[in-house]
Symmetry: C2
Subunit: 219 residues, 2 copies
């Protein structure tokens, strides 16, 4: 089975260079060449190639915008490979968010471009190693739990427990019922929490808890 490819780049020379590379492969067919993003979107919709190789810098609509439009339409099954000279982080994030199957630099050796197209076509993805490094760093921080402020150590276990419930917007009476203690007890705990953390009232406590990741939201 042969793979169909669309090329989008505003430099005719680069397009013919890439086409020459694909032509060396029997199973790859370059079915269209376009010079701007709008044409890329239109031709992808018309020809439904397996893979679209898009430059980021293009007239009318850039490669990122084209990627977003192509991948936003569920009728398209085309995989998108982005090719660029510059690897600004913002570009990378936008590309990956849109669902691109690849983010490659133009310094890529020809044979690797070929393999990239095959990778994309089979539903996998690949990212240039120089970009991957920074992506990992970014990913690591997004996985890392927010740093626990040291003043939290001042709280006793019970106080932390109460703080959790305050953060969940429970009233003193509700917390008392939930912990099976009197509400006067809860008031004492809350007071201690506020004074130890230097917070004015329970409203500040709620904000504090959320900002410092004491409440699990996403993930």
């Amino acid at each position: 089975m042969t793979l169909t490819v669309l090329l989008a780049d505003d430099h005719a020379m680069l397009r013919s260079g890439m086409r020459a590379i694909f032509d060396t492969q029997e199973d790859l067919t370059c079915v269209a060449e376009v010079a701007d993003g709008r044409a890329a979107v239109a031709e992808v919709a018309r020809l439904r190639p397996d893979v679209a190789v898009l430059d980021i810098r293009m007239p009318k609509l850039d490669g990122l915008g084209a990627t977003e439009m192509i991948l936003a339409d569920p009728a398209n099954r085309t995989k998108v490979l982005l090719l660029t000279t510059y690897d600004t982080d913002e570009y990378v994030y936008r590309a990956l968010k849109a669902g691109a199957s690849g983010f490659l630099l133009k310094s890529l050796p020809p044979e690797e471009l070929i393999s990239a197209v095959r990778v994309a076509a089979r539903g996998d993805a690949l990212i240039d190693p120089s970009v991957t490094q920074r992506l990992i760093a970014r990913f690591a921080v997004s996985l890392a739990p927010p740093p626990t402020p040291p003043e939290l150590e001042l709280l006793t276990a019970r106080e932390r427990e109460v703080l959790q419930l305050v953060a969940a917007a429970y009233s003193n009476a509700e917390i008392a019922a939930r912990l099976h203690v009197g509400d006067e007890t809860v008031k004492t705990h809350v007071s201690r929490v506020l004074s130890k953390l230097g917070l004015r009232d329970r409203v500040h406590a709620v904000a504090y808890a959320h900002v410092n990741g004491l409440v699990q939201t996403r993930r």
Copy 2:
């Protein structure tokens, strides 16, 4: 300049296979072979190779634990490539969080293993395409803003503005001063916000705002 490599895998056969691959390259030297994670950590500390290629499944200490120990020690400049048969997502996250320079499957062609070592040595990173695909998906959701609940549309611009300030734990008087209006006005806005959103009091409003991403914390 030649690159030094450490191999860690509990299968002697696989180690000698990889060593044979590296031996075909003049600039790559395999300086050590070990069969478990603890030995890997020790040998890396002793020999300081440029790159350590670790299997994940190993006795005593697995490749992930070894990676964490190696990369936690700032005295080590060794880059870590993880090699595995299975690509469980949890493995990948843990590896990347620890700061691994690569996550590769054992199905990798020999020549790509060689290029992976060179990539790692120069400070870049690479991830197997089949893993990259899922990583992108995960990364995209971590970038995506939390969905805005529809009831927020009921609020007027001013009410949303007040909600933001309530979420930042400002009192009615502080909000009034900040918006240059009377505090009675603020009370009206807050009341409307609470009733429109079905919230009991401002404490619930703070929690609501944080849960629904109306307050920027990380990123």
